[in-house]
């Protein structure tokens, strides 16, 4: 077991103007489960491959278990990587796939046998040990790939979107299995995914990345409740947070927000605290953010955010439904209780309490608080 520290880790591919990874600083504690999450091309896989030793480091440092491993080959880093494609050796049986690394290390046969058996038990692969990868289902292959990492008992587990090739149901199941596995092994795990739901459900801490830059690093709760910037706010949570541009009116004692047009249907009232924050901020405009799940069709006494909107689309999900409604030409999404009885074409007022309203700087996207 070991911690992982990245210091100013940078990757610049020749021919690209912008670095694929720009000065990434990250500390992963011993036994922690950390998710690197971001849209494709954000540099998360590059970071993982650099830690794995599959990509050269342009600049910066990678430290695993107190030892800088920049110049160590992969095999000496005491890490295991679960590939997105699983990368099982097709000509070897499941047992041989799992023991390949140990065989290379000349571990005694009895020990290999024991390690494979115990990993197979954990992952429910005992009956499949004699099969070849081609004879396995996607989920089974995925478990073999996990088993191959498990058998080696590495200091750090690296996983590169290991669930992306599974169907939705299996993904949920395997997600829980990996969480259990982490709980059981108390191993340091770094998990790359583009799926924020995966990150939210599994991680102790999440690193949200965008365009090669770390946007925010924190627990799922921190990221959800107080996103550092508009990108994180929009990325975490599903459906995505609603954003509305508004004008700051600082004339009076109390700061007021007004809509883009004079007869705007969207109204935001501010608490004193919020008012102070916005008074101090620069610029004449601000981006207001409200999560769909915080919007309600019932009128609130002291609503922070309210919008008179027309319902355009209703997505029924069983217990609740996603409402797409337009207000001032903007598409707002709200998650309402399916019993609310909202119908297509209805005019409703969506409102949210003060403490659920977020403010972001128009230019930088930074959270104002």
């Amino acid at each position: 077991m070991a911690n992982v520290i990245l210091r100013d880790l940078t990757k610049q591919y020749s021919g690209n103007s912008a670095p694929s990874l720009d000065k990434l600083n990250l500390e992963i504690a011993d036994g922690e489960f950390v998710c690197l999450v971001g849209p494709s091309g954000c540099g998360k896989t590059t970071a993982l491959r650099m830690i794995a030793g599959l990509e050269d480091v342009t600049s910066g440092e990678i430290e695993i278990g107190g030892r800088v491993v920049n110049d160590l080959p992969s095999r000496d880093r005491d890490i295991a990587l679960v590939f997105q494609s699983y990368a099982l050796y097709p000509h070897l049986t499941v047992a041989d796939n799992m023991s390949f690394g140990l065989q290379l290390r000349k571990v005694p046969k009895a020990e290999i046998e024991q390690a494979v058996q115990s990993a197979a038990k954990i992952l429910d692969l005992v009956d499949l040990l004699k099969r070849k990868p081609a004879q396995l289902s996607g989920g089974q292959r995925q478990r073999v790939a996990l088993g191959r990492a498990l058998v080696r008992d590495p200091a750090v587990f690296l996983m590169d979107e290991p669930l992306s090739n599974l169907d939705a149901k299996l993904r949920v199941q395997t997600r829980a299995e990996i969480s259990q596995l982490h709980h059981r092994l108390q191993a340091t795990m770094l998990y790359v995914t583009h799926d924020q739901v995966e990150a939210m459900t599994m991680a102790d801490r999440i690193a949200v990345m965008n365009l090669g830059v770390l946007e925010q690093y924190g627990t799922p709760r921190e990221l959800y409740n107080s996103p550092n910037n508009q990108f994180v706010a929009g990325f975490i949570g599903s459906p995505s947070m609603n954003f509305v541009s508004m004008h700051i009116n600082r004339d009076t004692k109390q700061v007021h927000l007004t809509g883009v047009s004079a007869d705007s249907n969207i109204k935001v009232t501010l608490t004193d605290e919020q008012s102070d924050v916005l008074r101090k901020s620069d610029g004449d405009d601000v981006v207001v953010g409200v999560r769909p799940e915080h919007l309600s069709e019932r009128p609130l006494d002291h609503a922070g955010f309210s919008a008179a909107a027309k319902v355009e689309v209703i997505e029924f999900l069983g217990n609740d439904e996603h409402i797409h409604a337009t207000s001032d030409g903007l598409d707002l999404v709200a998650i309402l209780n399916a019993q609310a009885g909202v119908a297509r074409g209805d005019s409703i007022t969506l409102s949210a309490p003060h403490d659920t309203v977020h403010f972001f700087h128009v230019q930088t996207g930074a959270a104002l608080r």
Binding site: A52, G53, L54, P73, S74, R75, I79, A80, L81, F83, S85, Y86, A87, L88, Y89, P90, H91, F100, G101, L104, R105, K132, P133, A134, Q135, L136, G138, R141, R148, R152, N165
Partner: protein
């Protein structure tokens, strides 16, 4: 189709020609007739080989008297005497057995060396980390178009030059022929192996490297087993080319006491009369060896060896 016919002519009962077309179509779409046609083609294809076998099994005297198909009416006249005579000579220079051995002496090393070098070259061209791999590969592909005939005389001269400079003239020797075949087999061999290996997912190699495999282990534990189908086909191709080669052997071994089977057979074409009993018997012997090679490597042509590797 039938409905279209019926609706176009209102209430006209199915006419005789359309019914016949119907039957024909059903006949063609079922498997029976196509099997019959294929069977006929297969039999036609086999006629030359079968006739050759029969000729080799008939006494020499019969050949000039009657055609081989006469045997179909009197199968008792077949005999192994031709084989007995040719094999009975033993390993005398210029005999069938000696030529068979010489053919093997040339073909086996020429095949093994090409397979050996092509595997390494393929691995390096696909997975190596050096600049100019593509240029080297394209150059090698370019070499594939050089016809053997163009190179014969320069290579002979080159061999003589080697003799003048180092006292080692490969001309007229079996190693000389082997070197020539290896040199001309390699471009295609490298082409084949490189292209096949480039289909091996890089993830597999990365996984192996992460687990502690060095380049050598990666090569023979991962890449080589996965490239087995390509390797088997390359071995078969190369074996058959070299085995059937007459031109190179004639140029480089002409006049040598030990010659391969192709020259042995060629020499039986005498000016006045060809020794058909020797040609037919020798030809059968020369066919048997490639057949053995083919069938022993055939099991490696397992399709989808890479199935289940990724995804």
């Amino acid at each position: 189709m039938t409905t279209a016919i019926e609706t176009s002519g209102p209430s006209i009962p199915t006419t005789e020609p359309t019914k016949r077309r119907h039957v024909l179509r059903r006949l063609l779409s079922s498997r029976g007739p196509s099997n019959v046609v294929l069977g006929i083609i297969a039999i036609l294809w086999l006629v030359p080989t079968v006739s050759l076998i029969i000729i080799s099994l008939r006494p020499e005297a019969d050949f000039s008297v009657s055609g081989w198909w006469k045997v179909l009416f009197s199968p008792t006249s077949l005999t192994f005497s031709n084989y007995r005579v040719l094999f009975g000579q033993g390993f005398v220079a210029g005999g069938l057995l000696d030529s068979l051995m010489t053919s093997l002496e040339i073909t086996v090393p020429a095949t093994l060396l090409v397979v050996f070098f092509a595997c390494f070259a393929g691995h390096s061209l696909v997975f190596g980390r050096w600049r100019g791999r593509d240029v080297v590969f394209l150059t090698i592909v370019g070499l594939m178009v050089v016809p053997v005939q163009v190179a014969l005389i320069p290579v002979v001269q080159f061999y003589h030059e080697l003799g003048n400079l180092f006292g080692l003239n490969p001309y007229g020797t079996i190693p000389g022929v082997i070197i020539f075949h290896v040199a001309f087999g390699l471009p295609f061999g490298i082409f084949l192996m490189r292209n096949f290996m480039s289909g091996i997912p890089k993830d597999l190699l990365e996984a192996a490297r992460m687990e502690g495999a060095g380049e050598w282990k990666v090569f023979y534990r991962i890449v080589l087993p996965l490239a087995l189908p390509a390797l088997a086909s390359l071995a078969i191709f190369q074996f058959i080319w070299v085995w059937n080669d007459l031109l190179v052997a004639l140029v480089f071994l002409g006049g040598n006491a030990h010659t391969p089977l192709t020259i042995f057979l060629y020499d039986q074409n005498r000016e006045l009369q060809a020794n058909y009993w020797i040609i037919s018997t020798g030809a059968i012997v020369s066919v048997v060896v490639p057949l053995i090679v083919f069938f022993s490597f055939q099991r490696y042509f397992v399709r989808g060896v890479l199935a289940g590797a990724v995804k």
